[in-house]
């Protein structure tokens, strides 16, 4: 049985690298570049894990947090890893308060990301 992951980032190279890396580990990886696209996928597909960037589409807002709110409401079984280029303690606290399972700084070795992913899914299973 392969777990399904949704990766959301506006950086194409990140999406393709995570897909390539996680594929051989036995995950089925979907990618989204924008908030609306990610919400549409979350509403229709049962994902075990969501890996999202805090900021999407280059905006200054924290669209990642908006996505977290949506996922917590519509897809409570999905574990969530939030990635950020510049996370303040305040944003991290808010993210964890909204039900994010892990809050990580970019860049992050994919091996580490994979470890956390498998840990979260073991705990969530």
């Amino acid at each position: 049985m392969s777990a399904r992951i949704l990766v959301v980032d506006d950086e194409e190279s990140i999406l393709s690298a995570i897909r390539e890396y996680f594929g051989p580990l036995g995950y089925e990886v979907d990618c989204a570049r924008e908030l609306e696209e990610a919400e549409a996928l979350l509403a229709h597909v049962r994902y075990a894990l969501l890996i999202a960037d805090l900021r999407l589409t280059g905006s200054q807002s924290a669209e990642g947090l908006e996505l977290v709110r949506f996922a917590r409401e519509r897809s409570p079984w999905t574990r969530i890893i939030l990635l950020t280029g510049y996370g303040s303690v305040e944003v991290e606290t808010e993210a964890l308060g909204r039900g994010v399972d892990a809050f990580l700084q970019k860049p992050q070795p994919l091996a580490h990301l994979a470890d956390i992913a498998s840990e979260l899914m073991r705990a969530g299973a």
Binding site: E11, E12, S13, I14, S16, A17, I18, E20, Y21, P24, D53, R55, L83, G85, Y86, Q105, K106, P107, Q108, P109, L110, A111
Partner: protein, 390 residues
Amino acid sequence: MKHNEAMSRARQERVRSAEKERLPVPTLQALIRRSALEWRLTFDALDFPLLLLEMDGRIVRMNEAARALAGVTFEEAIHRPLGVLGSGQPWGTVHDLLAEMDASGVRAGAQTQEERGRVWDVAISPVTGPDGDRWGIVVILDITERVRLQESLRRSETMSAMGALVAGVAHEVRNPLFGISATLDAFEARFKRRIEYRRYLDVLKERVGRLNELMQQLLDYGKPPRLDLSPAAPREVMAAAAVACAPLAAKAGVEIALDVAPDLPSPLLDRNRVVQVFQNLLENAIQHSPSGARVAFRATLAPISPAAPAASAGTAVRFIVEDSGPGFRPEDLDRAFEPFFTRRRGGTGLGLSIVQRITEQHGGEIAAANLPGGGAVMTVTLPLASGGRG
């Protein structure tokens, strides 16, 4: 002020009553002597130097603060040329300003710094003496602390603007950086058996690691000055930094020796940021120490600033990191805290800048120096109650 007004009123009454009563000469002389004494006491009570000069530079009068600053007796100075007060600052400036005022006929002023670092504001104004001759009245103010605060404020304003810029840039760089490092990870996972790719991968990963470290330091440097203050025991904060540096110390064969004065009070600190300060200082010390050496990390009670009066002694905790490495090059001491200034290969040159920034955010002071016997010594003085400057 009230005291002076009262004195002046009392004097006017005495003069009036003297006129009314047509007091005998000896009584008038006594009143005049008394009045002269009152003025001298008033001048001497002022804590800044005050001098009255003739245009040729001879000293008519000076107050106690001026006498103490010059380190002479009144007998050695009164009616003697200005030169008897010494050749250093602020006296050199007084001399120059007297000539300037003589030429222009109006007030002259300047700021000057003496060798020991004190900054003086010197002003000389023309007055007319009792026989119609021109005199100059000199006021000398010690503005060392004011200049220091202004400098600190200016730096902190520059830092806030730069911090926002740097944080924005670091974020924008981190995204593509993650794109690169993730792509490298995926490439490595797929081609890990292809030995001919190894050396390319190693170089790329090492470079990405360095860029990442630089970004992390830039973000630390640009962090907003909001501090999360709470009382922190010096020993605990120092130990946390020492533990964080333990792997590096072990690798370098260097011992970190903690020496904390007993009964130290707990200053108000942003603990995590101060741990970072100590960690940066210890890492520097370890990196510059020969194998088998020891890095001393001490804490004692201290006055806030070396220039602070003794009355405020014990209002700060001083942390000292000493190593037995080569020390700073003398010409580098002034530049040690400059962003991006480093002599270490692979160093970002931001470590000490970050340390300085966090120290100043706590209203503290930091100094870099060399030990007489070789080795560098870094001193961080943090006030018990943080000034919380931005």
